[in-house]
């Protein structure tokens, strides 16, 4: 059971990442290959604040959101100068920069050694102190976060802001003709997406209790893109299904009886083949309503 709880927590964390990326990619149509950077910023900010400065997890996570939001505002402004596919390339560059910062600013991040011994979240009211030390309690916490993020995303989808985003995705110029400042809309959703991703980062750091730069590379950004695309763009339910499928699939493949000398490689191959097949037959993703 503990193993399933563990997987459920991971699915929860990746659901938040997928939901937040879906806002940026699915609704606004911004091809962002830098989501792992915001994931990492959240993880590092909260890890440093909780281990070095003994700050409460929830405050630290909030600080992570602020850091990610401020940086994403700046990055979003730069990225808005690019057109079309160049946004994707520019965002790759930003992911590399953030990763290099994690690797090189050793006074703060301890570089390649990573940050070990990150504590689990705890709630303190006077003498009452509750620590989310068991995996089940952590699962409850992450489910609450996923639910909050999900309802926020649903709210955005239903709102006039969400409709404007979809319109930007379909025809940005047309919307500009109607007097919308599309840049503001795109920046806003980019910042919201980054802030939400940083929450996932804080949860991740506190759950695994150890982070190092290798977790937040472009590979992770590409993995997140595939989660969202496979689940289905512009669908919050799709993001959840994508996270469920892509986190669980490689784990289930551990139980497939491949011969032990090629098992690990075969798992990767099967995983890859399944992704290709899915994309061939369902290019709009499992429940998506929009195709890139």
């Amino acid at each position: 059971m503990e193993y399933l709880t563990h997987l459920a927590v991971l699915v929860g964390i990746y659901s938040i990442l997928a939901l937040s990326l879906n806002l940026v990619l699915g609704y606004a149509g911004i091809i962002s290959v830098t989501h792992a950077a915001f994931f990492g910023l959240g993880a590092y900010t909260s890890a440093i604040l909780t281990t070095v400065y003994d700050l409460n997890f929830f405050l630290a996570a909030l600080c992570g959101v602020l850091v990610a939001a401020i940086i994403s505002l700046f990055v979003g402004t730069v990225l808005s100068k690019f057109r079309g596919d160049f946004v994707a390339l520019g965002s790759v560059g930003f992911n590399v920069i953030v990763w290099s910062v994690f690797l090189n600013v050793q006074e703060l991040t301890r570089g390649p050694l990573g940050i070990p011994g990150i504590g689990r979240p705890n709630l303190e009211f006077g003498i009452w102190n509750y620590e989310f030390s068991s995996n089940v309690s952590f699962l409850v916490l992450s489910v609450i976060f996923v639910a909050l993020v999900y309802f926020l995303c649903q709210f955005i989808e239903k709102s006039s802001f969400g409709r404007a985003l979809k319109a930007i995705r379909e025809d940005e110029e047309a919307l500009q003709v109607f007097g919308y400042r599309t840049l503001h809309y795109k920046l806003a959703v980019f910042v919201i997406g980054a802030g939400l991703a940083s929450i996932a980062g804080a949860l991740f750091a506190s759950y695994i209790t150890f982070i190092d730069p290798s977790t937040f590379t472009i590979n992770e950004s590409i993995f997140l893109l595939s989660v969202v695309i496979l689940g289905g763009l512009a669908s919050n339910r799709g993001a959840l299904i994508g996270a469920l499928a892509l986190v669980l699939l490689p784990e289930f493949l551990r139980f497939v009886g491949f011969p032990s000398d090629i098992a690990a490689q075969m798992r990767q191959v099967v995983y890859g083949v399944m992704l290709i097949v899915l994309m061939l037959y369902r290019p709009q993703g499992l429940v998506g309503e929009y195709k890139l």
Binding site: M1, E2, Y3, H6, L7, L10, L103, N104, Q106, G111, P112, L113, G114, P116, G117, F204, I208, T209, F210, I211, D212, S214, T215, I241, A245, L249, E251, F252, L253, R254, F255, V256, G257, F258, S260, D261, A263, A264, Q265, R267, Q268, M274, L278, R282, L286, V287, E289
Partner: protein
């Protein structure tokens, strides 16, 4: 509104269908896998030991030979009668050299396979992340490869028979001071291992009054000429090369030859443990200092390991002077431990601290109260392309 609702309805059905197909495929494969397993002889209930290794991803070059060594040792133990009459069975999981997959692998081994002892992780990131998982379940985690100083005393459930990086950094710093060197140029690859060595070296060296001029390079660097030229102009007493892998070291040596730079060298055990590299760059190496954690080439257990590995897999054992022997010893230590206290993670972890002068392929193993291997690196000097113990 009507058509949209209909659209989402059919897409939901399709999704469900797709999920069913997916579950069928995966489920079918699982059942197929189980069948294969049942065909094995069930003469005696085997003792299951978990193994975490980086079999894919960045750490895979280490994981492959490690798995071969584990399987070789297990086969030897089982043909010799097993552990207290029961065969040893390794359950190998890929932990991909990162914390996330290591926790997943550890959770699976502990909760599905119900192992009491996990052999691994290999990368320090794997061990650091998996330790809380193992400790919570009272399972022993035994690493033959993680060398990060962060692991010293991390938990009563963790121990390792590979020495901490801190030990070689310290040994080399003291040797440099003894040589009368005041200023050392330092080139470090940006990895956890190399940084660990640097930190230990720099702490001791600066404490003893030395200064360090340091440059760092990412792991994928090909051209070192500008960094090397910069370090050359520093006019240091010695040049310390601190790579993670051998190809990086060889590129640096090649480019040092091109630059006609022949400083007094120091390097970590990655280079020190590679006899071929030492021989190839013989003229650069003369008098170089290295701290090596190594098996005695005359140790019969070590030579036996080399010979049997070659017979079984047809290639020479990689990392023969570092991880190979500790991995081999680890399997035998698990056998000894289970025979002493039974297959119980908690008792095994307590027992591990009592290991003293245990004879294996990597020499005499003694585990301290903090779970670290005591002793570790010996200072060596390169003479005529060969590393010799410095007297």
């Amino acid at each position: 509104m009507e058509p949209e609702a209909q659209g989402s309805g059919t897409s939901l059905i399709k999704t469900v269908l797709w999920l069913v197909v997916l579950i069928l495929i995966v489920g079918g494969l699982i059942i197929y896998g189980k069948k294969g397993g049942e065909e094995k002889e069930a003469s005696k209930e085997p003792i299951k030991v978990g193994v975490m290794l980086p079999l894919t991803g960045d750490g895979a070059p280490y994981g492959e030979p490690a798995r071969n060594v584990y399987l070789l040792a297990t086969e030897e133990i089982n043909t010799a009668g097993g552990v207290s009459g029961q065969p040893l069975e390794l359950i190998i999981e890929d932990s991909k050299c990162n914390g996330k997959d290591a926790t997943s692998a550890a959770q699976k081994l502990i909760n599905i396979d119900k192992v009491q002892i996990i052999l691994g992780g290999f990368c320090s990131s794997e061990s650091i992340a998996a330790t809380p998982v193992a400790a919570a379940a009272k399972v022993a985690l035994f690493s033959p490869g993680s060398s990060s100083p962060d692991l010293t005393g991390i938990s009563p459930y963790f121990f390792r028979n590979y020495p901490s990086d801190a030990s070689q950094g310290k040994v080399l710093a003291e040797a440099a001071v003894a040589k009368g060197w005041k200023k050392v140029a330092f080139l470090q690859e940006q990895t956890d291992y190399a940084l660990g060595v640097f930190k230990a070296f720099s702490a001791r060296f600066t404490e003893l009054g030395g200064t360090i001029i340091k440059e760092e390079v990412p792991s994928n660097t090909i051209d070192f000429r500008s960094v090397l030229s910069k370090l050359k102009t520093a006019n240091a007493d010695a040049f310390f090369l601190d790579p993670q892998t051998l190809p990086v070291a060889e590129r640096v040596f090649k480019q040092m030859q091109d630059l006609k730079w022949k400083p007094v060298l120091m390097f970590n055990d990655v280079v020190g443990g590679a006899p071929e590299t030492l021989a190839t760059y013989k003229d650069l190496m003369e008098g170089a200092l290295t701290a090596e954690f190594t098996a005695d080439p005359n140790n019969p257990k070590f030579t036996k390991l080399l010979a049997e590995y070659k017979t079984k897999y047809g290639v020479d054992l990689l990392y023969a002077s570092s991880y190979g022997p500790t991995e081999y010893d680890a399997v035998y230590l698990i056998k000894t431990g289970i025979e002493a206290v039974g297959n119980n993670g908690e008792k095994f972890a307590v027992w591990s601290r009592t290991v003293k002068d245990w004879e294996g392929a990597s020499g005499k193993t003694t585990i301290g109260a903090d779970g670290d291997r005591i002793g570790g690196h010996t200072l060596k000097i390169v003479k005529d392309g060969k590393a010799e113990v410095m007297k």
